[in-house]
């Protein structure tokens, strides 16, 4: 790591997680626990499980724990619903000292009874929090008994915060989803061109854009995991011929599990940027090996590209030569963003993720130019130092990174829950270019 320049304080234990690209790859250290005492941008198991499951619109999402875990996750996901709004409520057992001492099982059972009676949901998801993992409430038993009483599905989510990382929360969520899916009846042959779409949470309506593309290609979208999904649609997930996975970080595990149990093949796709969107649609069409679908797919790509290219080129004129820094949750999104920035004439000079995996970092190293700093689980001080050192004009990140960028006089685009425009597909590529353009070219930076 001698390529780190002088004047930058990086604690010894962190050095293996930061690398400046120079020719060959070096195997960045990642998928490790954070160092105690670091200002990590990472979250917990509960957070991972909650973000994956929260978009299920007609479920009661009951957080079993003290109030905070429910308060901080109340309707912040930004995932849109075309129907039910129940998922936008915040339900908590609000555990108190007494419950910690005597156990929270009775209170939980009681809360479930009262909520089911009032809202009559088809599904209740009960999230475990740190404290529940410690006091040892048997969520499985409480949920099972309650399910029997009410005749609906009530499932525990094993998401005690300390029991791993956010990625482990994704797995806990996928385990719940696997329990929800019903086996196909009599293992009939797969129906026609029907797919599931995994790892899109319908932020700002993104899944709706993709669903429209698929429809125009003559492909039926069975269910989206989990954007704008409902109990009954999720149940039918085994009836698809293919799973396409957008966010592999959160849903790759589910894709593998469904292949193992139901024999449904999966493919990783990305609908971020024109290039990846077109490639992904072709990949899906190619799977079905059907002339009509291929034809429609090519028509769609041609038509949409024709529509959006001039707009993107317009923005590109103003953005050419700018430099971007990226710090996002997973490696998958980071990879797509590199390509998407290239489409608008921007080089990525710093890139990092909270929970990227080895193979994702290898891909990233292959995509970025020499001199780009790649880092895992960065803290704000590192982000600041490398963004300044690298001369970035713009940062792409989430809620905690925004004010940091602004303080440094850098433009910012939210690529997380706080995004306000869909960033998927061709329409999303234009939105992305516009958002980058609007922030980079804002007059406010002149007043610094």
């Amino acid at each position: 790591m001698n390529s780190l320049r002088a004047g930058i304080t990086v604690v010894e234990e962190r050095r293996a997680s930061i690398h400046t690209k120079s020719g060959q790859s070096c195997g960045l250290r990642c998928e490790t626990d954070s160092i105690a005492g670091c200002v990590s941008q990472r979250a917990c198991v509960y957070c991972g499980a909650r973000v994956v499951l929260n978009p299920i619109t007609d479920a009661i999402h009951l957080v079993h724990g003290p109030i905070g875990c429910a308060s901080y996750t109340w309707d912040i996901r930004g995932s849109l619903s075309s129907g039910e709004e129940l998922y936008r409520f915040s339900f908590s057992t609000d555990l108190k000292e007494r419950d910690i001492i005597f156990g929270g099982e009775k209170k939980l059972a009681c809360a479930i009874d009262e909520l089911v009676e009032r809202y009559r949901p088809p599904l209740v998801l009960v999230y475990s929090t740190c404290i529940v993992g410690i006091i040892g409430d048997d969520l499985e038993a409480v949920c099972k008994a309650a399910a029997k009483r009410h005749g609906i599905e009530i499932l525990p989510v094993q998401s005690s915060g300390f029991a791993g990382s956010k990625s482990d929360g994704y797995k806990a969520a996928c385990d719940v989803l696997m329990r929800l899916i019903e086996p196909r009846q009599g293992m009939q042959p797969f129906p026609g061109a029907v797919i599931n779409y995994l790892g899109d949470f319908n932020l700002a309506g993104e899944a709706w854009i993709i669903s429209d593309y698929l429809r125009r290609m003559g492909i039926r979208l069975n269910v989206v995991f989990t954007g704008d999904s409902s109990y009954h649609t999720l149940k039918k997930a085994a009836g698809a011929a293919l799973n396409v996975i957008q966010c592999a970080g959160s849903m790759g595990y589910l894709g593998i599990a469904m292949q193992e149990r139901y024999g449904i093949p999966y493919m990783n796709v990305s609908f971020l940027g024109m290039e990846d969107t077109a490639n992904s649609l072709r990949q899906i069409a190619g799977f079905f090996n059907d002339a009509e679908i291929t034809n429609k797919c090519e028509n769609l790509i041609a038509r949409e590209s024709r529509l959006v290219e001039p707009q993107i080129m317009g923005y590109r004129q103003d953005l050419e030569g700018k430099k971007a820094a990226i710090y996002v949750g997973g490696g998958f999104k980071a990879i797509s963003l590199i390509k998407q920035f290239r489409e608008i004439g921007i080089d990525v000079v710093m890139i990092g993720t909270q929970t990227g995996r080895h193979e994702e970092y290898d891909t990233i190293e292959g995509l970025v130019g020499d001199g780009t700093v790649v880092l895992d689980d960065a803290n704000p001080a590192e982000l600041e130092q490398f963004m300044m050192q690298q001369g970035a004009d713009l940062l792409v990140g989430g809620v905690k990174e925004r004010p940091l960028a602004y303080k440094l006089g850098l433009a910012f685009v939210d690529h997380n829950h706080d995004r306000k425009h869909p960033l998927s597909g061709f329409a999303g590529a234009v939105n992305f270019a516009r958002e980058v353009h609007d922030t980079v070219c804002s007059p406010v930076w002149q007043y610094l």
Binding site: C47, E85, D94
Partner: protein, 461 residues
């Protein structure tokens, strides 16, 4: 949306629907940010720290720095001692704060980590300070956490060194925005009284944009000021829930007399604050303040017909809500539903003051209203369904009820996640009251304009 809420009041024995509070650690983190060059530290899982930072960032739109012990399964089984020791070492090596303020979480509290002993056994560089507060998330609310961390500042740092107390007031502002802390300091300065405010997030959570990022902005109470607080001759705690405990602790520890007042929101509470300073320090109220007060009264008079008899629901943190209730009554409004998520009795905190004070104000004003501590927004919504109001005052979370019932919302308190600027402009003092009067009047009049039939639509209102 929210159409599953009915006016039928259900007896609920377990659980909260749509909370009007959050947990202790975030309050402790916010309080700690009010110490100069302090890094708050969350002793628990990474998620807690991440959520608190995100939530504070969404409200203040500022970077919020805090470190975490990053508990894993191992730490949860064998205790978090090793994590905390490593954390203390790393924090001072990497981030070099003057002081590290540790708060616990439900996890570390339940495991039973003995923080004072762990601090004693840790390597702390010379000249650096580590303090801690116990903030179990299953007790009280974020306000309790704020109060506990503020008290910890006294417990760890306040010293009584002088034989005769200094002619100086300690101000404990409570869980308010940096703009409010700034305004309170301005009022005290106008009175010509030297003061130590703690915690003080002005200059930290409303730091100006300079193109440079300062991990520790220029604001915040310094360690030496916190030490000197034990030599001041008076402590004025603003808000019984967020500030009272620390003031009484200082009284016990350093014999600094404590006065607990309402958060100075509205004319009455601001008068009380100014008069307390006047009588305690034998100072004249300067003309500048008289003028501000006179302007406020002028504005209240000019607009009083817009307020009179208007029904309002108020929710949020107890200290702010108590003061807002008083203020709306002073404008001739009728606060019918008043609710806080913070339970009224917590260990070390005031017992039952919330309901008592507000019921007293309602009684005196001849208002038959409802008041509850430890309630949630589902309940508030049911109350509003049974007895509608013209206005809701509270945090951003009120917007769901406002949308469902088509009621305007005046955003006050914490958190405000969907608007900006609130942390730069005060609601306390006479000027803050003018701003609130404007916000309330505009909300009511915008609604009147929107709802007016053509023939009732007026230019002059």
């Amino acid at each position: 949306m929210l159409d599953c809420t009915t006016d039928k009041i259900y007896e609920r024995s377990a659980g909260v629907i749509n909370p009007a509070k959050t947990c202790q650690p975030i309050g402790a983190m916010y309080a700690a940010l009010g110490i100069h060059k302090c890094l708050p530290h969350s002793h628990g899982s990474q998620g807690c720290c991440s959520y608190h930072r995100s939530h504070l960032t969404r409200h203040f739109r500022e970077p919020v720095m805090a470190s975490t012990s990053s508990f894993t399964e191992g730490a949860s089984v064998f205790g978090g001692g090793a994590n905390l020791k490593a954390a203390i070492k790393n924090v001072f090596t990497i981030y070099d704060p003057d002081i590290m303020a540790i708060h616990t979480t439900c996890l570390s509290e339940t495991i039973g980590d003995d923080i004072p002993t762990l601090i004693k056994g840790a390597e702390i560089p010379p000249g650096k300070v580590v303090i801690h507060a116990n903030t179990p998330s299953y007790q009280g609310s974020h306000i309790t956490g704020f109060s506990n961390m503020t008290r910890a500042m006294v417990v760890y740092l306040a010293e009584a060194n002088l034989d005769k107390k200094a002619e100086r007031v300690n101000i404990i502002p409570g869980f308010v925005n940096p703009s409010d802390m700034r305004e309170i300091k301005r009022l005290v300065s106008l009175m010509g009284i030297s003061n130590i405010m703690f915690p003080d997030t002005s200059g930290v959570m409303d730091a100006p944009m300079t193109g440079q990022y300062a991990m520790y902005p220029s604001g915040g109470t310094t360690i030496s000021e916190l030490q000197a607080s034990g030599d001041s001759c008076l402590t004025v705690a603003l808000g019984a829930y967020a500030s009272g405990d620390a003031a009484y602790q200082l009284e016990r520890k350093c014999r600094v007399p404590a006065v607990v007042l309402k958060t100075p929101v509205g004319i009455n509470a601001t008068d009380d604050f100014i008069l307390t300073l006047r009588s305690s320090f034998a100072r004249e109220v300067p003309y500048a303040l008289e003028e501000e007060r006179g302007q406020l009264v002028d504005i209240m008079t000019d607009l009083h017909h817009q307020f009179h008899g208007k029904r309002v629901a108020i929710f949020g943190d107890p200290d702010i809500v108590i003061a807002l209730t008083e203020m709306t009554i002073s404008l001739g409004m009728r606060p019918l539903h008043v609710l806080t998520g913070t339970p009224s009795g917590t260990i070390g905190g005031p017992q039952g003051i919330f309901e008592k004070e507000i019921a007293g104000m309602m009684n005196q004003a001849g208002i038959k209203g409802r008041v509850k501590a430890g309630g949630d927004l589902f309940e508030l919504h049911q109350w509003i369904k049974r007895e509608p109001v013209d206005l809701i005052m509270g945090t951003t979370y009120g917007k769901y009820i406002c949308r469902a019932e088509d009621i305007p919302l005046v955003r006050v308190g914490f958190p405000i996640l969907d608007r900006g600027v609130h942390s730069y402009l005060p609601i306390v003092g006479y000027r803050g009251a003018m701003r609130l009067v404007e916000m309330i009047a505009n909300a009511l009049l915008d609604r009147a304009d929107r709802d007016a039939r053509d023939e009732d639509f007026e230019l002059v209102m």
